[in-house]
């Protein structure tokens, strides 16, 4: 996991120093709504998250993104690093749609020792450009997350959720 965190930071730093391509920072709030707990249907509100992502262009429409998130889920609080790809396409003046894939690696905040946790998510969303520099949007999709070590302490240590994410994005530089 340490390697992945170092890689995320390295990519982030590289991105910040790059002036060739569009750079964006987005701040998001996420509500997690339950679908499955282990393999059983289990609905209801599961928790939420607050995060920040930096993204930079790979091709015209494709960007990589990296960032960090603080979230609370059924077992408690977590701090995770984000790494993923986002494909964005404008479909009308000021409006665009996007699809993204994201992996998160981090720690579940337990004591005396924190536990490793990971997640995979796929999201689709729409975005409205407020002005040249900023936009807001809404995304939703599927998120799977797991805390393998927690399976020793609980009958449930993995979940499938239906996240609803509200984000605000700022374009830093082109």
């Amino acid at each position: 996991m340490r390697k992945l965190v170092v890689l995320s930071v390295a990519v982030f730093v590289f991105g910040l120093t790059s002036t060739l391509k569009a750079q964006q920072v987005s701040i998001y709030l996420n509500s997690l709504n339950g679908i499955l707990a282990e393999s059983n249907f289990d609905g209801g509100s599961r928790g939420g998250s607050l995060g920040v992502n930096y993204s930079n262009t790979l091709t015209n429409d494709l960007k990589w993104l990296g960032g960090a998130e603080l979230n609370t889920v059924s077992w408690g609080n977590n701090v995770v690093a984000n790494l993923g790809l986002i494909y964005t396409k404008e479909f009308a003046a000021k409006w665009s749609w996007s699809v993204s894939g994201l992996t998160q690696q981090g720690v579940a905040l337990f004591k005396p020792n924190a536990f490793y946790t990971f997640s995979l998510s796929a999201l689709g969303g729409i975005e409205f450009r407020i002005n040249e520099k900023s936009s807001i949007g809404l995304s939703t999709g599927l998120r799977y997350y797991n805390c393998p070590e927690y399976s020793k302490y609980s009958l449930i240590s993995s979940y499938f959720d239906f996240p609803v994410e509200l984000f605000y994005r700022i374009t830093l530089k082109k």
Partner: protein, 250 residues
């Protein structure tokens, strides 16, 4: 609105401190009764006796993994096979963010007509808030190293049991004494079965000599607590005996 609620919860939990104390692994707890779990609840009930006469909605202590109470809860169910204990998982492991979740448990179990609630530390204080909002639903309240945040239950007609420990460094004897005035009339117990009848409309206080705050669960040591002079087993055996006697008298 739901999104806003969870985001406020998240931010507050970060302010309050985010790490939860983990319980003993399930494999070490040697549970004898039926354990069932969802994303929101942990249920313990007898494997053999299917007639549930009493439900116990339990709120865990603040920033304590909710599985940390299973060991004594399992023994209590063995002692009282008609009892169903439902431990509520709280957002960020802080009961202050899930006070009303206990009513979902009651509504999901219409066959059970007798309900008590209670909890450890912060969980007990929030269980008192649950009763304040649903005064006729519950017959009893069990404070474990806990006390109410205000005098909301001073005139409540149900029965209250307050179990505390002499070497508790957090919910100290001084604090238990201070908040006696906020609860129905006080009766100090001399023994585990020394209840004044009827128990309703009274608060019975039982002190475990030599016990501390953290030994009401199985989650290790807690900062600010004092060292216990009795074992976890001795402390928890007293706890389950007095709770079982209280349920019998309700």
């Amino acid at each position: 609105m739901k999104h806003l609620k969870y985001n406020v919860i998240l931010l507050l939990s970060l302010i309050l401190g985010a790490c939860s104390s983990i319980s003993e692994p399930l494999a070490n707890q040697n549970l004898q009764n039926m354990l069932f779990e969802t994303a929101d609840y942990i249920v313990l009930e007898s494997k053999t006796n299917t007639a549930r006469t009493t439900g116990f909605v339990y709120y865990p202590g603040g920033l304590v993994d909710p599985h940390a109470y299973l060991q004594w809860q399992d023994k209590l169910v063995t002692l009282n096979p008609g009892l169903k204990i439902v431990t509520v998982k709280m957002p960020s492991n802080l009961a202050v963010f899930g006070i009303d979740k206990g009513m979902t448990v009651v509504k999901a179990n219409p066959a059970i007509s007798n309900w008590i609630t209670g909890g450890h530390s912060l969980g007990g204080a929030m269980a008192a808030e649950l009763i304040n909002k649903n005064q006729t639903t519950f017959k009893g309240l069990v404070f474990i190293a806990s006390y109410p945040a205000s005098d909301i239950l001073k005139n409540w007609s149900g029965g209250v049991l307050s179990v505390h420990a002499s070497r508790d460094g957090l919910s100290t004897i001084a604090k238990i004494e201070k908040y006696k005035a906020d609860l129905p009339s006080a009766t100090v117990m001399n023994g585990m079965n020394n209840f004044t009848l009827p128990v309703s409309g009274r608060t019975h206080y039982y002190e475990i000599m030599g016990g501390n705050h953290a030994q009401f669960g199985n989650y290790g040591l807690q900062a600010g607590d004092s060292t216990a002079t009795i074992s976890v087993t001795v402390q928890q055996n007293q706890l389950i005996q007095v709770i079982n006697n209280f349920i019998d008298k309700l």
